[in-house]
């Protein structure tokens, strides 16, 4: 955890389809295997329902749905990343969790004009690591929007 260089940030990297995405590790509480999720009537479209995480009720959001990707079945690689934003816990379903990376701020490129399925308000920037490109996500914006729909 101890960062010697201030500009280094650690990200959890996960996969949706073939794309890699990163979220700030500071927001992440735990990573869980796929569990039973109870559907909540009248919940926003990309909110899959609520799950029981060791006695706590936590809403679960599907990032695939939110990013407008096609629905696929859950596999044994599917994970729920439990994130904490402003004291509220939320689970996000991703295809696979890959690794933890460190990216220097200077390595992050601001991408206002990348066209794609994801809204620019959801993206912090793009990080380059060795042979891969990771889209860094603005989690608070994503979560807020997921529940706003």
């Amino acid at each position: 955890m101890e960062n010697t260089v201030d500009s280094m940030t650690q990200y959890i990297v996960f996969r949706l389809d073939e794309q890699s995405y990163g979220i700030d590790i500071q927001n992440v509480q735990t990573i869980e295997r796929m569990k039973a999720v109870m559907r909540v009537p009248k919940a926003p479209y990309c909110v899959k329902g609520v799950m029981n995480l060791r006695g706590e009720i936590i809403p679960v959001v599907s990032l695939r749905d939110q990013f407008g990707l096609e629905k696929i079945d859950y596999t044994d690689k599917t994970r729920i990343i439990i994130v904490k934003i402003e004291d509220a816990m939320v689970g996000i379903i991703v295809d696979e969790v890959k690794e933890v990376i460190e990216i220097e701020e200077t390595e992050v490129e601001n991408v206002q004009n990348i066209q794609g399925k994801i809204k620019t308000s959801h993206i912090l920037g793009v990080g380059k690591v060795v042979d891969n490109i990771v889209t860094l996500l603005n989690l608070p914006n994503i979560i807020e929007e997921a529940f706003d729909n």
């Binding site: 109870m38 009537p41 029981n52 706590e56 009720i57 809403p59």
Partner: protein, 679 residues
């Protein structure tokens, strides 16, 4: 002295005492000649002053002392009570409350001396009567106590009778004032020793403060007892002085005619404390405690009846018995299964009882909230120039502590509304032939698994048509919607947020100020609020609150492959519904149950599940909210279960048909239906 550990106690008791002062001052204003009330006020103020002094809150002590000066002049008859004076006294109480608030927050009383109030108090003494206490404040405390010591206390009537009878029979009746050494640590223990000693020689018929207060150490360094005895006073004196840490004894004899004092003896035992080692009980590490205890001040506490604690204790003992039973279970034996089942059944019973008992411990009477209202209504009525009578009932009704803490503000809101907008002015009331005095009724009662609090006024009522017009004008609803609305639906408009901001609504209907805030608070607590009104006669706001929050009895049902819980308190009964029984009335599906027409709701469609073909025989759960009933069509019943309510969290709080979730025995999540929003 190790003060900080008593801070919590001090805060609790000061709040109590201030509340008592408020109540009694109100009473006194209405019965200015009642010496009993005045004595009570005096006594409480004195206790408060003493406690503040002990805790080192000098400013608080000084203000209370000045209040006491005024009270003492009122008691001696040199000042007559009037409303302005009571206003000043109330302001002083508010200032004292501020001190306590400050102590709660920062552990110190702050720096406000409230000199203006002290001057006001001095002014009262100067202008309305001869100045009896010209000495500088605080210092004359001793002088006055000397003075009171010379007086015989006023006995309650029954004790007076006992006393007179005793004297007739040739017994002695003494009033004994015992002064304990100021650094006495176990005051109540000393008092107890003295009580036991005295009881060897006679009978204690009265004591000040009450035995309860003495046991709880709610007194300063002195207390007074009245004893009926055959002994002479020197004997008693000797007995009491032999108890350690007694600094002095004053014994006076009662005569049959209670005003005539026969004789008086005062003794002083000098520096008694030094001769006894008890003073060393104060631990050396008190310094460290002082600094570390500062943060505990705002702990929430509940006062618990000792009986309830005993019940808890008993239940825990039973739990231990079950545990031993299970431990001793011989798995290989033949009746292992039966024994096991017995134990589990027993365990179930104990845990249910335990739950009830713990819940009861958390229950506090609504009185705690209600008792500040008379004062508030008094202030409002003076400000508005209206004559208002506040009638309260059902103060003993109990609610969960968490609900009690939150319900105050909404109720204040409703009461203010009733006083301000509901009741007409005196002139208006006179012209329409209503009694001059407006009445606001505040009543609480338990109804099934909920507690109902009603705020009712006999004012002008709410003009339903005016609300509709306003709502249409504001674009909240359309003209057609307005026409289709019944009275209840129109009244519900009052609780919509858009109404609260509109000041003009009060010109029309006299309502709508911040009612949405009231509603959201009450909904947050799991309750709901509705209003009944009759134009010209008055209106009634009915607040319905759940008895407890955390754990409820629920009926588990399944719809599709999902499980839901319906709070049992909402359920009236369960009926078989035949396909052909469902009729259409004005496009609404209804069923007839025992000659009542009940609209039905198909939970499948409400909960967003695929609709199903009607089976020939379906199951209906009839739920009720207040007077309204609705039948839910469900797939099957799972059974009754005790569930722990958990919130869905802030992100999903907007979903009104779901009240929360619960975790079932197998770890699955089931959602709890919010009946209030489904009906």
């Amino acid at each position: 002295m190790e003060v900080s550990q008593y801070l919590n106690m001090f805060i609790e008791e000061s709040k109590d005492n201030l509340q008592r002062l408020n109540e009694n001052l109100l009473k006194l204003e209405n019965n200015p000649d009642d010496i009993q009330i005045l004595n009570e006020i005096f006594r409480v103020a004195h206790t408060l002053k003493g406690m503040a002094g002990t805790m080192g809150f000098v400013r608080m002590q000084k203000l209370t002392h000045n209040i006491e000066n005024v009270l003492s002049d009122i008691r001696s008859g040199s000042i007559k009570i009037n409303s302005d004076m009571v206003d000043t006294l109330f302001m002083c109480l508010d200032a004292l409350e501020n001190y306590v608030e400050e102590i709660v927050n920062t552990s110190s009383e702050g720096t406000d001396d409230h000199n203006d109030l002290i001057e006001n108090l001095a002014e009262i003494i100067k202008s309305k009567g001869e100045v009896t206490h010209t000495e500088t404040p605080v210092v004359d405390q001793e002088t006055k106590e000397e003075k009171t010591a010379g007086n015989l206390i006023e006995l309650p009537d029954t004790q007076k009778l006992v006393k007179n009878n005793a004297i007739e029979m040739g017994m002695n009746v003494f009033q004994i004032k015992v002064d304990l050494s100021p650094n006495c640590v176990l005051k109540s223990a000393r008092a107890f020793v003295i009580f036991t000693d005295l009881e060897r020689f006679g009978e204690i018929i009265h004591c000040i403060p009450s035995t309860q207060d003495i046991e709880d150490e709610k007194f300063e360094n002195d207390f007074t007892v009245v004893v009926v005895t055959k002994e002479i006073k020197e004997k008693l004196e000797q007995v009491i002085m032999s108890v350690s840490e007694v600094e002095g004894v004053t014994i006076e004899a009662f005569a049959k005619d209670h005003d005539a004092k026969i004789e008086e003896v005062a003794l002083k035992k000098e520096e008694q404390a030094e001769a006894h080692p008890t003073a060393s009980v104060t631990p050396a590490n008190s310094e460290t405690n002082n600094s570390s205890n500062n943060k505990q001040v705002s702990n929430k506490t509940v006062r618990v009846n000792i009986d309830r604690l005993d019940t808890l204790m008993n239940l825990v003992s039973e739990l231990i018995i079950v545990k031993t039973q299970l431990e001793g279970l011989n798995v290989t034996s033949q009746d292992a299964n039966t024994n096991y089942n017995d134990s589990v059944e027993y365990l179930e019973r104990v845990t249910t009882n335990l739950h009830d008992a713990v819940m009861k411990v958390r229950m506090v009477p609504v009185e705690i909230v209600f008792n500040r209202f008379p004062r508030m209504i008094r202030d409002i009525s003076r400000k508005l120039g209206k004559d208002i009578d506040l009638v309260m009932s059902g103060e003993e009704t109990e609610l969960d502590r968490t609900v009690i803490d939150e319900i105050g503000d909404p109720l204040i809101h409703l009461l203010r509304n009733a006083a301000d907008h509901g009741l007409e002015t005196i002139e208006e009331r006179a012209t329409i032939g209503k009694p001059r005095k407006g009445t606001i009724k505040l009543q609480a009662y338990q109804d099934g698994n909920s507690v109902v609090i009603e705020v009712e006024d006999d004012g002008k009522g709410i003009n339903v048509q005016a609300i509709k017009n306003k709502a249409v004008q504001k674009g909240t609803i359309t003209k057609e919607e307005a026409d289709a609305m019944n009275e209840q639906e129109a009244l519900d408009l009052l609780f919509r947020p858009s109404f609260s901001t509109a000041e003009k609504i009060s010109d029309l209907s006299g309502r709508g100020v911040g009612l949405d805030v009231v509603k959201s608070k009450i909904t947050e607590l799991g309750g709901h609020v509705e209003v009944q009104t009759e134009l010209g006669k008055g209106s009634k706001f009915i607040v319905r609150l759940p008895l407890t929050l955390a754990i409820i009895q629920a009926l588990m049902i399944s719809i599709g492959d999902e499980k839901y819980a319906i709070p049992l308190s909402n359920i009236q009964n369960i009926e078989d519904v035949r396909k052909e029984d469902i009729k259409l009335v004005q496009n609404q599906e209804v069923i007839m149950v025992r000659n009542e027409i009940i609209p039905i709701v198909r939970l499948h469609s409400v909960l967003g599940l695929p609709e199903q073909e009607d089976k020939d025989l379906m199951m209906g759960v009839i739920v009720k909210k207040g007077e309204r009933q609705v039948g839910f069509i469900i797939d099957s019943l799972i059974g009754q279960q005790e569930i722990v309510i958990k919130s869905l969290g802030k992100y999903l709080s907007g979903i009104d048909i779901i009240a929360g979730a619960t975790i079932l025995g197998n770890g699955e999540v089931a959602l709890i239906l919010d009946i209030n929003s489904l009906i």
